[in-house]
Symmetry: C2
Subunit: 225 residues, 2 copies
Amino acid sequence: MNKIQDRIGYHFKNQNLLHTALTHSSYANEVKKGSVCNERLEFLGDSVLSIVVSDYLYNHTKMPEGELTRLRASLVCEQSLRRFAEQIDLGESLLLGKGEQQMGGRKRPSILADAFEAVIAAIYLDGGMDPAREFVLRFVEKELESHRQKAFKDYKTALQEIVQQNPEEKLSYVLLGESGPDHDKRFTVEVRLNSNPIGKGSGRSKKNAEQQAAREALELMGYSK
Amino acid sequence: MNKIQDRIGYHFKNQNLLHTALTHSSYANEVKKGSVCNERLEFLGDSVLSIVVSDYLYNHTKMPEGELTRLRASLVCEQSLRRFAEQIDLGESLLLGKGEQQMGGRKRPSILADAFEAVIAAIYLDGGMDPAREFVLRFVEKELESHRQKAFKDYKTALQEIVQQNPEEKLSYVLLGESGPDHDKRFTVEVRLNSNPIGKGSGRSKKNAEQQAAREALELMGYSK
């Protein structure tokens, strides 16, 4: 139990809570009848996870509601939680029934995701919201960083999606100039929201210059924070 | 603004938060362009509501996960939140665009439910989790009371639903005895889980005695708390 607590980064005052969080229903049903499984903790952990992520996104970004909702959903989905669980080898420490164990239960995404939520709840019940928040954010901040790198690769699309939430707003890209010889041209492009310039960029192609302009606009709007 | 704060039962240090919580997007878009609407607060309030309700249900009942999830969903659904909003006449205090106002926006369930979540978030940001919890539970505890009265009217069904989550478990009702003359018979019934008695009840019909036995079993299992 100490190893998993080191990997979780939290040591429990009440070890029973950790034990319950690691107990899958297959173990409670088969191996040790009547013992408590992690399903109720999972129920609670789901909400703890949600408030921690929501609070963080609300206070650390300026995203509008639609973006916030999409990003929260992707951070708390089974795929993400499974990856978080794998980062601390949670599967190794789970108590599973024999059948489940033989069927590869330690690697099953739903089992890992549920147990991860149960661990969040166990920390919350044992130490309160602060250590639960600290635990969750360790994974979420890292995940957000890689999201950012992927999601904002195509800056024009990202900017378009944000702007079109307001149907009256229109984006346009305006070529300000080109310079250099044919084999080494540089383009400079300005992106405008309605008629207001909101970003400028340059590159070796118009397309690339537009991407850079969109990236600057996103930065100025606070999205790349 | 003071009236609505009295009805909410919380006075804001930062009045802007309350103002934002009461501002529907139709107002922000039409009436006062560029002002902030309550959509981001609604995003956050959704999660505050969820953790308050989950924590309460987890700690105040012994329900298994399936029941907890169903009950939470019914407490935080649009219909419930609209009713909560109506209890404090939230519609009266909303800032709506002219069109929305003429279309009866002050009574629209989605607008009321969203604003109620935004108010929860505003309290959370202004005063922290404790006053937000206090605000939410005022409505939730009352709602739970009326849920209980409805949901547990049919005790046999309720007990059956709980027990059948464990496929091996079987309920049976056993007539222990009848007494009294034909026009005033009393039946006594015992309900058993597998072969163990878990509740007893009596009534003027077998059916009624079974309901009473199921009710006692639910009580002993902690469900009517």
